[in-house]
């Protein structure tokens, strides 16, 4: 017997880890991975609620989240490549100007 609250706590923990990584990490790629971690935490609570309420819509929403995450990863990594090309660094502290 696994209560819903266990899944929600795990999901909240993953989301919190993602937020913490987003705030304390300095490498732009790691920050990006923290965002993926947050999305994964949310996906877990979607699936847990879908199981709890016997509603499949929650699982369909997980697909949409995955699609958005994949699109975001593709565009974001392209932006990271471009930032690295112009600035030669991945440290966000040194990337503080929109314009060179």
């Amino acid at each position: 017997m696994v209560p819903l609250s266990y899944y929600l706590l795990l999901s909240g923990f993953l989301f919190a880890c993602g937020v913490a990584g987003f705030l304390i990490k300095r490498n732009i790629i790691t920050i990006f991975m923290s965002i993926e971690l947050m999305l994964n935490g949310v996906n877990l609570s979607f699936v847990a609620f879908a199981a709890h309420w016997h509603a499949l819509s929650g699982q369909v929403f997980v697909f949409f989240v995955m699609v958005v995450a994949a699109a975001e990863a593709a565009v974001g990594l392209a932006i990271i490549i471009m930032v690295y090309r112009t600035r030669e660094t991945l440290n966000v502290d040194q990337v503080n100007l929109l314009k060179l």
Binding site: V2, L8, I24, F32, A51
Partner: protein, 172 residues
């Protein structure tokens, strides 16, 4: 202690360990590998919740495609160890107690006000046929819109990651 709970705890431990390791590691490639572990363990959790198809897609799309993209970019840019920067002391002094208080509060509320019976693998309304019925019928418009989104993302990635000289040469 049921078998379900043991599996949940095992996968959950991998999730928690991977997430903490992602924060603790200094090198991005180590963070990426621990994120892959988190995603694979989450696929196991989805299986426990009766969502077989979501679990398969999680492994294929997330742990497969997206993370390969990440690892590829890390190797392409030859990303090294992350540099330390000085954090604010006020943030540490106020943030840590704040996080602890918030976490305990949320955990208490969630643990108190929710409960559910366990589900057997495959017992839930999760067969791919039902999911497809919902996805291609009730959610048809969002589905089509996401395909446009993917197309735009592909074009955006190609345009952004293209070398400026390559574009200039094509124009000439």
């Amino acid at each position: 202690m049921s078998f379900h709970l043991i599996l949940f705890l095992a996968f959950g431990a991998v999730c928690v360990g991977g997430a903490v390791n992602l924060l603790a590691q200094r090198h991005p490639i180590n963070s990426a590998l621990s994120l892959i572990a988190v995603m694979a363990a989450l696929a196991g959790e989805y299986l426990l919740l009766g969502a077989e198809f979501v679990a398969a897609v999680q492994v294929i799309v997330y742990a497969g495609a997206v993370m390969v993209l990440f690892v590829f970019v890390i190797m392409l840019l030859n990303a090294g160890e992350e540099q330390e920067t000085k954090g604010s002391r006020v943030a540490v002094l106020l943030g840590v107690p704040g996080i602890l208080t918030g976490g305990v509060l949320i955990a208490w509320v969630v643990a108190r006000h929710s409960g559910t019976e366990a589900v057997a693998i495959g017992a839930l309304p999760g067969p791919p046929a039902d999911l497809a019925q919902l996805l291609f019928h009730d959610f048809l418009l969002p589905f089509e819109v996401t395909s446009v989104l993917i197309l735009i993302a592909i074009m955006g990635a190609v345009v952004l990651a293209n070398k400026p000289e390559a574009t200039a040469r094509k124009v000439d």
